[in-house]
Amino acid sequence: MSSPFIWIVLPGMVALILVFLHRYQVISSILAITLSLTLAGLAWMLEIGEVITIGSWAFIIQEQMTILGRSFVISNLVLPQIAIFYLSFTFWIVGALVIPKPPFFTSLSLASVAVLISALSVQPILFAALLLEVAVLIFVLMLTPMGQSVNRGTLRFLTYQTLGLPFILLAGWFLSGIELQAGNTQEIVRAAVFLGLGFSFHLGIFPLHSWIPMLTETAHPYVTSFVITTLLSIGILFPVGFMQRYPSLNENINLLEIIRLIGVLMVLVGGIWATFQRNLGRVLGFAMIVEIGRTFLAISIPDGDKLLFGLLFPRVISFGVWALCLTKLRAHVEDLKFHTVQGYGRRYWIAGIGIVAANFSLVGIPILAGFPIYSILWERLAVNGFWISLAAIAGSAGLMVGGIRALAVLVMGPDELELEEEQEESFFSNMLILMGVSVLFLMGLFPQWFLPALTSISANFGAPAP
């Protein structure tokens, strides 16, 4: 048995079975939750390469698996990352239990995580691009439920992701060459440029970000949030791994400076645009752009990769709660435009609290989950230059204005729109939102409970430098 089999093939197979169980949403969700929790637990506990004995049965888990001549490698080093990915996935599936969602959400989301992990672990790296595209196609299926026409946000998403594919393929091709002829700096720079371009499309780097707000405006909020946060959390490891494998890059093209510039641009663009939005979904989209920027800022500082996984949990929970609440609201209104949802925060006040708490958490308002990790990030940036830190906080300020405007819209409006329909709200979804909000507060007040474990996880997924 090999580690790729456990964390890629097995979930892939279960995802296939879940496709057939799509009519039984609760059963398939429970199956997916059980599996992902088991996979996360195994990743946390198992030691690859050591003899494992269960009763009279003894075996060793190999770190490599070969399919059609391609190797998939999952070593001990990356197991904590795998555990975090499956734990995050569990969170999304638990949230999805209480909202209306596309029928194949559970199976496709499980498949997408397995495919993205396979993209991270495939060697040669050239094939990662193809696996990424497979993941994107799965995402498109999730975003466009059967029988519905593709919305313009999904179309733009597919276009940009596909435009990024050739660049990543070229980068992979160059990298394969580099691994044969060690020390070729010129080739490394070329590979970096192509990889950078490819991931600019993939991660929605400014000015290629338009698909994000389009998607959050038009598609299912919960599915969209899952797609973007998963893509960001796993996708960002490609460039990070690349930087760690070729540290000489920074000497040649000031890579860290460029990444910092991208980060500042993203945070500012996201923050400024969030200020002026008139649609709750779009505010969510620009919050995601700010978060992408923060991730880039984190990897631009020395030892910043330690912050990557520290950023991940507050991000997943904040976006999860936010998307859950928007989905709940969306079930009662035509769209998420400000004038449509005016006053609905009073009628569905738990959803209203969730939206505002999640938004404020992503701003970095104290006592919420984002604050401790963002304050570390801002401090680290300030040591490198006050203006960069200031720009990062300015982005947060823009997002805060977006959140304040959303709050105003949710609580204002016609006075007769009172709590009359409060009882109609589902008990479980309310409980889940309140639990999510409580976790946001706990993480904000007691970061010592989770940050030490998360900041000790290595961000290097790939093989060592040649």
Partner: protein, 523 residues
């Protein structure tokens, strides 16, 4: 240790009250429980003075290598003064609330205690992390409390505006922290680097409503008198303590003229609006604005004692008036003693505030005296206004009710006398520092004579004065700017998300790459 226990008591007692309330216990017992909690906390805070200076770590944020600071409390001279002042508030509220016993509100008592606990956390904050945590909890609780109680869309809008202003204040503190880090320092309130004091002052000034002058609540939210006073004054106290700390290091010289100009306009505007207010509760935001602006001017002049004196006067004299719902002759007399607390008369608690008069130039001194006089005039006017009497209450209430007010004043005078705030502000007996308060009272007397003889400004002049001093025009400009920027960004979004959006994006990307390439490779 004593301050930790007192804060803990202020958080635990409300929980017990809310739990016990469910068992339909008589309100009197709940009131007694709240009283015991409040009194214990107050005494503990008073006695904690002997332990100063003291650092108390609330918890250690980990990993320690990544966090430069963790939530910590600091007990020193400045924090103790404001904490002692704040800790008497719940007692005063509970005691003065007895005249409303028919309209009993245990959850209001619980909220009063909890808000005081939060206020104490903010006042004792040793570093920005502790302060912003306390501020955020206070702001979010206040917002939630108000949103649950206000009934019109307009009021809800004001609540959200108030929250947004406070949150900007928090962000300014965060920025100040980062600025300190960028110069290789770690910001702690007992050693503020002079480079960041300007930003801290902006944060505190913004939360006080002084920089720029603004009033989130043109109309006071519908809270009970006692709880309303606590809700309005706790955030103010936690900002005043920052002012007092900034006053120890001063603000950058280049900032001073601008800050002074805005603070003086705020003082005049607040004082003028306070006099014009129909009653003390509607005028409360303007009393806070006017007095806080004078405290802020003292901070700019690097006068910590004066800042504390004006700050305490704002809190203590103000609360005497705000908590007085019913008046007998004796209670009115107490209110006049309350005015003395803010008068800067020799040997009164705000006498050290007179330092401002002896340290500012003649013109500024004149303007501040006018603002001070208007604030005192407004106070007198509100005290003299007819109010409900105490005839229809039970006899024991007649005794308990004024005790609340007496406690407030005793604490104010006690703190002032023990901490040297009522000491002479300078050596020269014939200085403005000594007699500034008396001059202000002289102006009040003249203004009162004018009023009595019905000599007042023509209404057109009065209206124009109000418009000039009011900051509304600033907000109109800002709103215009926001609308136009909104249109611009919306247009850019439409281009990027439209049919030709992909081409536009790629064009922009090429431009960006060429710029970056020039900078990083071509150099």
């Amino acid at each position: 240790m004593m301050i930790s226990i007192s804060i803990l008591i202020l958080f635990i007692t409300p929980i017990i009250i809310l739990i016990v309330e469910r068992f339909e216990l008589r309100a009197g017992y709940l009131w007694l429980l709240a009283m015991v909690g409040a009194a214990t906390a107050w005494l503990l805070i008073l006695f904690s003075r002997s332990q100063a200076p003291l650092l108390i770590s609330l918890m250690q944020w980990k990993p320690e290598a990544l966090f430069s600071a963790s939530p910590t409390l600091l007990l020193d001279d400045i924090s103790w003064i404001f904490a002692a002042a704040l800790s008497v508030f719940p007692l005063a509220v509970l005691l003065t609330d007895v005249v409303h016993f028919a309209d009993v509100d245990p959850s209001g008592w619980a909220a009063t205690l909890a808000m005081t606990g939060l206020g104490l956390l903010a006042v004792f904050a040793e570093n920005p992390i502790t302060l912003v945590l306390a501020w955020a909890v206070m702001d979010l609780s206040e917002t939630l409390m108000l949103l649950l109680r206000v009934s019109t869309s307009e009021q809800r809008e004001r609540v959200v505006v108030a929250l947004s202003v406070r949150l900007i204040g928090i962000l300014l503190i965060v920025i100040a922290t980062q600025q300190a880090r960028s110069i290789g320092d770690t910001l702690a309130f007992n050693s503020i680097p002079p480079e960041v004091s300007g930003l801290l002052l902006l944060a505190a000034g913004l939360r006080l409503g002084v920089l720029p002058p603004h009033q989130p609540f043109f109309q006071e939210p519908p809270l009970r008198r006692g709880l309303g006073t606590i809700v309005r004054l706790m955030p103010v106290a936690s900002s005043l303590v920052i002012l007092a700390r900034i006053a120890q290091v001063g603000v950058p010289l280049t900032w001073q003229p601008y800050l002074l100009a805005v603070a003086v306009i705020s003082a005049l505007y607040g004082a003028y609006a306070w006099v014009q207010s129909p009653n003390e509760l509607d005028g409360r935001p303007f009393w806070i604005l006017g007095m806080a602006a004078i405290a802020l001017v003292s901070t700019i002049f690097r006068l910590p004692t004066a800042t504390i004196a004006w700050g305490l006067a704002l809190l203590m004299s103000g609360s005497v008036l705000f908590l007085t719902s019913n008046r007998t002759r004796f209670v009115s007399l107490l209110s006049f003693v309350g005015i003395l607390g803010a008068s800067a008369f020799p040997f009164t608690p705000a006498w050290a505030g007179g330092l401002l008069y002896s340290n500012s130039g003649v013109i500024l001194m004149f303007v501040i005296i006018i603002a001070h006089a208007l604030l005192v005039l407004g106070y007198v006017r509100h005290v003299l206004q007819p109010s409900r009497s105490l005839e229809d209450v039970e006899p024991w209430m007649l005794i308990v009710y004024p005790i609340g007010l007496i406690l407030l004043m005793a604490t104010h005078w006690g703190i002032a006398w023990s901490q040297g705030l009522a000491n002479p502000p300078g050596d020269l007996v014939l200085s403005f520092g000594w007699w500034g308060g008396v001059i202000a009272f002289g102006v009040v007397a003249i203004l009162m004579i004018f009023r009595r003889r019905e000599i007042s400004l023509p209404s057109s002049v009065s209206t124009s004065l109000g418009s000039i001093l009011s900051p509304e025009w600033i907000y109109k400009i800002l709103w215009w700017l926001f609308r136009n920027l909104s249109r611009t960004f919306s247009a850019i979004s439409q281009i990027l998300e439209g049919e030709g959006g992909i081409l536009w994006s790629i064009l922009m990307l090429i431009l960006l790459i060429s710029l970056v390439a020039q900078q990083s490779v071509g150099g």
